[in-house]
């Protein structure tokens, strides 16, 4: 059994009008079956309102399923006695870096999680040091978060989660509010954690470029999982992605158009290098 597993997960929002009368029920997540293996890098894609954030909040036990079950490392999220263990094992990074940094100094913020868990003082310092180093923010440890760029703040948030020694990290659109440089920084840090530390990563995003390195991709639409597979499998279905209102990376799109106009190229090209190589073989 994987580290994160959901079984027929359903979550319903009750919509109310201004007087508090029930207007209707929205199914944000609809019968989702997910199985993430330890050490995997999983990406969840979807346009706004596809239910991907709602799904993420279930893994950290911030939301509870209306129907179905979520297991994190074998623990049922509905089981209250495991609540804090689940939150420790499945760390969560949110979208807005300003709204999740609690400390007034970088190192204090990273220490916040371990402090809450009751880790002894010396060990907190060790954990803070190692997690700041893991995201490449160690030399900023004495800075005020207000003086950092968006990408740096988001890396501090990630360090704050790693300091709790989680088995997996769920990142809920961590790059949505960043500029391209910040986005690259964060994605590099996340990949490093997955490669070096072997932490399971669930990356929720709507930027296609970020999921190229994922082991598996889930595409969500209207609360359901519409597609799943490796990035290559997903990107070879350009038409279907367009139907789901998702942008395909430019290279993939170019390769797809070339293919359509008769050039013999393989499916699902992801990087510029791949396309060049493929084009060169076609030429020769």
């Amino acid at each position: 059994m994987g580290i994160i597993r959901t079984d027929k997960l359903v979550f319903e929002y009750i919509r109310r009008d201004e007087e508090g009368n029930v207007e209707g029920i929205t199914r944000a997540v609809d019968e989702v079956d997910l199985n993430v293996k330890q050490g995997d890098f999983v990406a969840i894609l979807g346009h706004n309102g596809s239910g991907k954030s709602t799904l993420a909040k279930h893994i950290n036990a911030i939301l509870y399923p209306t129907e179905g079950t979520v297991w994190v490392d074998g623990m049922d999220t509905k089981d209250e006695k495991d609540l804090w263990n689940i939150r420790q094992e499945a760390g969560m990074v949110f979208q807005n870096p300003d709204n999740q940094i609690i400390g007034q100094v970088v190192e204090e913020d990273v220490g916040f999680g371990p402090e809450n868990m009751g880790v002894p003082t010396e060990e907190i310092w060790e954990r803070v040091e190692e997690s700041l180093k893991a995201v490449g923010m160690y030399k900023y440890r004495k800075y005020s978060p207000n003086k950092l760029s968006g990408g740096q703040k988001q890396r501090v948030s990630i360090a704050g989660v790693i300091a709790m020694h989680p088995k997996c990290i769920i990142l809920d659109e961590p790059t949505a509010m960043l500029d391209p440089n910040g986005r690259k920084e964060v994605v590099r840090a996340v990949r490093g954690l997955n490669d070096v530390e072997g932490i399971t990563v669930v990356l929720i995003t709507h930027y296609m470029e970020e999921i190229i390195h994922a082991d598996r991709v889930f595409v969500m639409d209207k609360g359901r999982i519409a597609m799943q597979g490796t990035p290559r499998e997903i990107f070879s279905q350009v038409e279907k992605l367009k139907e789901l209102r998702l942008d395909v990376p430019q290279v993939t799109l170019l390769a797809y158009e070339l293919q359509k106009s008769g050039i013999d190229l393989p499916d699902g090209i992801l990087t510029v290098e791949e396309l060049t190589r493929a084009l060169l073989t076609v030429q020769s």
């Binding site: 807005n96 300003d98 999740q100």
Partner: protein, 266 residues
């Protein structure tokens, strides 16, 4: 514009006073303020002045920087002086039209001015040498006994430190909203006070909404990081008294004793 406001106005430098435990500084500040009301004679004020001067010297904060903080209270100081000067009955020194300056009034006015300025400078020695964070930490530790009376000490301290963390963010946001509204023709500058205050309403509403949204996000992020109140929480930087803190308490006790002696015998 708005970002120039420095709250808590911590002055970064290295000194004995900076290194003291925040609890010592808090207690000392309170004691100093009390001592200003204990002494009644000039000798007492000289003692207080010497104590304050030594503290300022030890803190390595330039005196000029400290006086800067006084500017905000010049107005209050002036009012106090004027009222005391003219409204104290007693032996008349000068009388102009209906206003009379009395000997007692003059004495009281100077005394009040000295007392007020000492009070402000004394407490600014604390805020200048202590980071807001260690200040809240110190308060939390000092007020811990109040927990018996069900005072949510940890929660209050946490709220204070979060508030301090969000001040620059909210200021930046205010700036942004202001600019956005100025761009659409809002006028924050002209008109009398009432008009200006009214112009602030469309600024405050979006600011409040966004503050609530931030609070919601932050609460979720804190819970996601296992925050569950003060129980079983460990500290990354626990407060521990060092020998210099004990010495400081000693010095403080001596000073306070001197003040009481002066009050009784002089």
């Amino acid at each position: 514009m708005l970002r120039d406001i420095t709250l808590g106005q911590y002055y970064q430098t290295d000194s004995v006073i900076h290194k003291l435990d925040p609890r010592v500084k808090l207690v000392a500040t309170i004691c100093f303020i009390i001592s200003l009301f204990v002494v009644k004679s000039w000798v007492g004020y000289v003692a207080a002045a010497i104590f304050l001067a030594v503290m300022i010297k030890l803190s390595n904060v330039p005196f000029k920087y400290m006086v800067k903080g006084m500017r905000a209270i010049v107005f209050i100081l002036l009012i106090t002086v004027v009222f005391n000067l003219f409204l104290t009955p007693g032996e008349v020194l000068v009388s102009v039209w209906k206003l009379k300056i009395t000997r007692e009034g003059l004495q009281l006015a100077v005394m009040m001015a000295v007392r007020l300025s000492f009070l402000i400078v004394g407490s600014s020695v604390m805020t200048l040498t202590t980071t807001p964070n260690s200040l809240t930490d110190g308060m939390e530790k000092l007020m811990k006994p109040l927990k018996i009376f069900k005072v949510p000490v940890h929660e209050v301290a946490m709220m204070m430190s979060i508030a301090l963390r969000f001040i620059p963010i909210l200021l930046e946001e205010t700036d942004k909203i202001m600019k956005a509204q100025i761009a659409r023709g809002a006028d924050f500058e002209s008109g009398n006070l009432v008009k200006k205050a009214k112009a602030m309403v469309p600024l405050l509403v979006p600011l409040f909404i966004s503050a609530f949204r931030r609070a919601n996000d932050l609460a979720m992020a804190m819970e996601a990081r296992c925050y569950r109140g003060g129980e079983n929480r460990t500290k990354m930087k626990p407060l521990k008294y060092a020998s210099r803190d004990r010495i400081a308490y000693g010095v403080l006790a001596v000073y306070f004793a001197v003040c009481i002696v002066i009050r009784i015998y002089l």
